[in-house]
């Protein structure tokens, strides 16, 4: 069984969303639920930490696409950070680097929200 877990925590004016494990059509609804809870709380500055994510398919990528407009319409952003090479390759194949800010690590992404 390839499990997936998503943890969130506040950091300054942003929320860090930490992904663990395998993100596919089976586990994408868990990520969707987390995004929808953040939207309900009005939290639109989101840093997604991919350090511990081993796998992503298009079902997982679709979740980031589903929420980006709502987030940006509320003056927030979804910034992606810390991807393993094979996960980055999937984002890259689909042209995401043109549409999302992708950082090497979480702190670099957080600084952009905190204007440091």
């Amino acid at each position: 069984m390839n499990e997936f877990k998503v943890l969130t925590r506040d950091s300054g004016n942003a929320v860090i969303m930490e992904l663990h494990g395998f993100l596919d059509a089976h586990t994408a609804p868990d990520l969707e639920k987390t995004f929808s809870e953040l939207m309900a709380k009005g939290k639109y500055n989101i840093v997604v930490n991919f350090n511990s994510l081993s796998y992503i398919s298009s079902a997982g990528l679709g979740v980031f696409m589903a929420y980006i407009d709502e987030v940006r319409n509320n003056r927030g952003d979804i910034k992606l950070a810390g991807m393993q090479q094979k996960v980055f390759n999937v984002f890259d194949l689909l042209g995401f680097p043109f549409l999302y800010e992708i950082y090497k690590d979480q702190d670099e992404a957080l600084k952009k929200f905190n204007n440091i």
Binding site: N2, D24, G62
Partner: protein, 147 residues
């Protein structure tokens, strides 16, 4: 580990997204033993995941009682995976090549799976066979991976 020169194997899976982890394991093990490197194994596994996700979501429309079959036939330099289902037929020519910016605006991820499969594999072919549909995915082992 000694490389497998020839692989002929098949397995039937329940049409639920919960089966995707088993699908990936099945493909991963055989791609490794055929001699592909890490990057290629990841790419092949992802392409098959996408094909099976389409079967589960579109051909069977989420019916968990249906089944699909994976066949792996590999020899020489050719690693071939056939995904067969008995659900609604699929016309890939009706799926437009996604414009990522357009998708982004419309919040839709549909069509990305097929796009990825075509990027990741050397051949992606769909055909109807009797009352079933097959998608055939092929990836070739390049010279430098054979040793």
């Amino acid at each position: 580990m000694k490389r497998s020169e020839k692989i002929e194997d098949s397995k039937v899976f329940k049409s639920t997204t919960g089966a995707l982890a088993d699908v990936r394991e099945f493909v991963n093990e055989r791609a490794v033993s055929f001699g592909f490197g890490d990057k290629e194994v990841s790419e092949i596994t992802l392409a098959v995941d996408e094909a099976c996700t389409n079967v589960i979501k579109h051909a069977y429309k989420g019916n968990p009682n249906a089944e699909f079959e994976l066949r792996i036939l590999a020899s020489g330099t050719e690693f071939q995976i056939v995904v067969r289902d008995w659900g609604a037929s699929f016309r890939p020519e009706e799926v437009p090549v996604p414009n990522i910016k357009d998708k982004f605006k419309k919040h839709k991820a549909g069509g990305l799976g097929i796009f990825l499969m075509r990027k990741l594999m050397d051949t992606v072919e769909y055909q109807g066979r009797d009352a079933s549909n097959e998608v055939r995915l092929v990836r070739y082992l390049r010279n430098e991976q054979k040793s």
